[in-house]
């Protein structure tokens, strides 16, 4: 500090003199101010981005309750879950047998029928009605709709065929039809989501 003693203005000396800790006071103030503004700016950014994610009223509609007692073997219904079609299908013994006969290793998205249904309800196949290719609604759940060459669902947009366990067998779709989270609250009631 000997060479700065000659400077008459001590406050100026504070700013310009190299100090022992290697940080000038002005640099410290600068870094602190810019950091505080930066952290504050990022904190403000969070709500501005978060506001675009689903609002409370949308989330409140995000579970669906279904009564599956009226569905006959071989029949399917279309329900709505999170504003998207949901396929609920009661499989016939022949369809179950067909699904179980396929070697799992040969599948594009290997899954057994048992993995895609709930224990004790192996005949209830509940999947999203959204093709895993680009999101069209496959045919096969409605009365008289074609079911494709594997007897499950067929997407008319780009020709993906799903089998009786709604697994992808042919066409461009990468995955089986998605099985949403659901549980049986009684023998006939299902809560999806």
């Amino acid at each position: 500090m000997a060479d700065t003693a000659a400077t008459a203005d001590t406050s100026l000396a504070h700013d310009t003199a190299p100090e022992t800790d290697g940080m000038r006071r002005r640099d410290f103030v600068n870094v602190a101010a810019v950091s505080a503004a930066g952290v504050g700016g990022l904190a403000v950014l969070y709500p501005l981005i978060s506001q675009m994610s689903p609002s409370r009223d949308v989330l409140a509609e995000s579970s669906t309750e279904l009564d599956v007692s009226a569905i006959q073997p071989g029949q399917a219904i279309k329900a709505v879950f999170r504003k998207q079609p949901l396929f609920v299908r009661r499989l016939t013994p022949a369809e179950i047998a067909a699904a179980n006969a396929v070697p799992v290793d040969s599948l594009r998205d290997p899954q057994t029928l048992a993995e895609r249904t709930k224990e004790g309800h192996e005949d209830m196949l509940i999947t999203m009605g959204v093709c895993t290719h680009l999101g069209c609604v496959p045919l096969g759940a409605g009365e008289g709709e074609i079911k494709g060459e594997f007897g499950g669902y067929f997407c008319p947009c780009h020709g993906s065929s799903y089998d009786t366990a709604a697994r992808i067998r042919k066409g461009p779709a990468p995955k089986n039809l998605e099985v949403p989270d659901y549980e049986f609250t009684s023998d006939t009631k299902v809560v999806v989501g």
Partner: protein, 432 residues
């Protein structure tokens, strides 16, 4: 566009060199709010409010565009969609309160900005165009704020829309057809709400455009300053960056603390509870008031209670209210004294602090008070003074006033003498 000693932009790397050649945007910013803009060294905190106004304009546009993602401009569901924003949308309550109070803060800083201009006569040559554009911005702000207040479709929204469009009904002969045309109906309804929403979205961008012209016009003569004397030499100025970016940054921090106190602790303090009641065309609230920032002009509107010759009172009020602002367009030519700053104009200063400011305060208070005595009479006195001040007192004062001696230069005003500062040291005013 600037003083000859303004620093020139030097692109330092490949990217900035490329940009400077193809689209010199960094150069534009450097010359506008960077080190390339020399600014008088003696600016007080009153000179923060232009930047603050710009900040709040951006804040309003950002929060407003976001609110428009969740709001539905339909009279059937507008009120419900506002409540949806408050209750369902993530952070919706914060965004709406930020927008509503942002409008108030925009007006607070713009009012201070205008009063700075009035006291320091910033409107005088060579800065008339900056002032005129500023008045245009203020008028656009008032239109935007009014239409924004209609959107939540509460009781005050509805009756505000009815009363304000009713002003146009005061125009002789064509008034009523104009009012019906403005509303797209006989009373505010879906058609009015939709067009107000459309214009409320559009006008802020028009304001942003006029703000660019305002700043462009400012950069030709450069900023004014508290002495009101022009920049003479390099020692009178400092570069905008870092000196005024730092000072404006500090001012912004203080403004944001006040703003956050309101947004997070008193979000409805400046609003009216009746606007949380859905619009009802069959029931007028007992006490209709506009938002606080319109109170002075609302008081002028209500000050005219008797017909004047052949002019009905209703028309007089409307004319007076619009004239109260339109008059500002003539201000540069009403005040002819070449001395700008109120600091050197003793007579002007007296009328400013003991005439104009109290009159504005009275108008402000009476505009928010019920339309009964003594507020009506007080409004009338204050209105009379308001117009007298600009149309009579200011022209007379500016011609008869004996002004105080001005400092020889800005540097002399700051340091006592501009001889003390050796050229070259002027860039280091940290020593003062």
């Amino acid at each position: 566009m600037s003083f000859p000693w303004a620093k020139e932009y030097q692109p330092t790397n490949g990217l900035t060199k490329f940009l400077d050649e193809k689209l010199p945007l960094p150069r534009l910013v450097y010359n506008a709010v960077g080190a390339g803009y020399p600014v008088p060294r003696n600016l007080s905190y009153f000179w923060n409010f232009g930047v603050l106004a710009g900040f709040f304009l951006v804040l309003q546009i950002v929060t407003g565009v976001i609110l428009a993602m969740h709001y539905a401009a339909n009279a059937q569901i507008a009120f419900a969609s506002t409540e949806h924003i408050m209750r369902d949308v993530n952070w919706g309550w914060m965004l709406r309160y930020a927008h509503a109070n942002g409008a108030s803060f925009f007006f607070i800083v713009v009012y201070i900005h205008i009063f700075r201009g009035l006291f320091y006569s910033s409107y005088k040559a060579p800065r008339e165009m900056i002032w005129l554009l500023g008045v245009v911005i203020f008028l656009l702000m008032m239109a935007t704020a009014f239409m924004g207040y209609v959107l939540p479709w509460g009781q005050m929204s509805f009756w505000g829309a009815k009363v304000i469009t009713g002003l146009f009904g005061a125009i002789p002969l064509v008034g009523e057809p104009i009012q019906i045309w403005l509303l797209g109906g006989f009373a505010p309804d879906n058609a009015a709400l939709n067009r107000f929403f459309s214009l409320h979205f559009l006008l802020p961008f028009v304001i942003a455009g006029v703000v660019i012209l305002h700043i462009w016009a400012l950069h030709i003569p450069g900023s004014s300053n508290p002495t009101g004397i022009e920049v003479k030499s390099e020692s009178d100025t400092v570069p905008f960056h870092p000196y005024y970016t730092a000072k404006d940054g500090f001012g912004l921090g203080v403004a944001l603390i006040a703003y956050c106190l309101l947004v997070f602790f008193l979000p409805n303090y400046l609003g009216h509870p009746d606007n949380y009641i859905e619009a009802n065309p069959l029931s007028t609230p007992a006490h209709i008031v506009p938002e606080w920032y319109f109170w002075p002009f609302y008081a002028i509107l209500r000050a005219f209670t008797a017909d004047f010759l052949i002019v009905p009172a209703k028309l007089m009020g409307v004319l007076a209210m619009f004239s109260a602002i339109l008059m500002w367009f003539f201000l540069p030519w009403l005040d002819r004294n070449p001395v700008r700053s109120g600091h050197y104009r003793p007579l002007f200063r007296k009328f400013f602090w003991f005439g104009l400011i109290p009159a504005m305060a009275v108008l402000f208070y009476c505009g928010g008070a019920p339309a009964e005595e003594p507020y009506v009479m007080l409004s009338q006195i204050a209105t009379a003074y308001y117009f007298l001040h600009f149309l009579v007192i200011l022209p007379i004062v500016s011609s008869i006033e004996k002004t105080e001696p001005l400092p020889t230069s800005i540097t002399a005003a700051v340091l006592g003498s501009d001889k003390e500062v050796v050229k070259g040291e002027a860039a280091e005013p940290v020593a003062v």
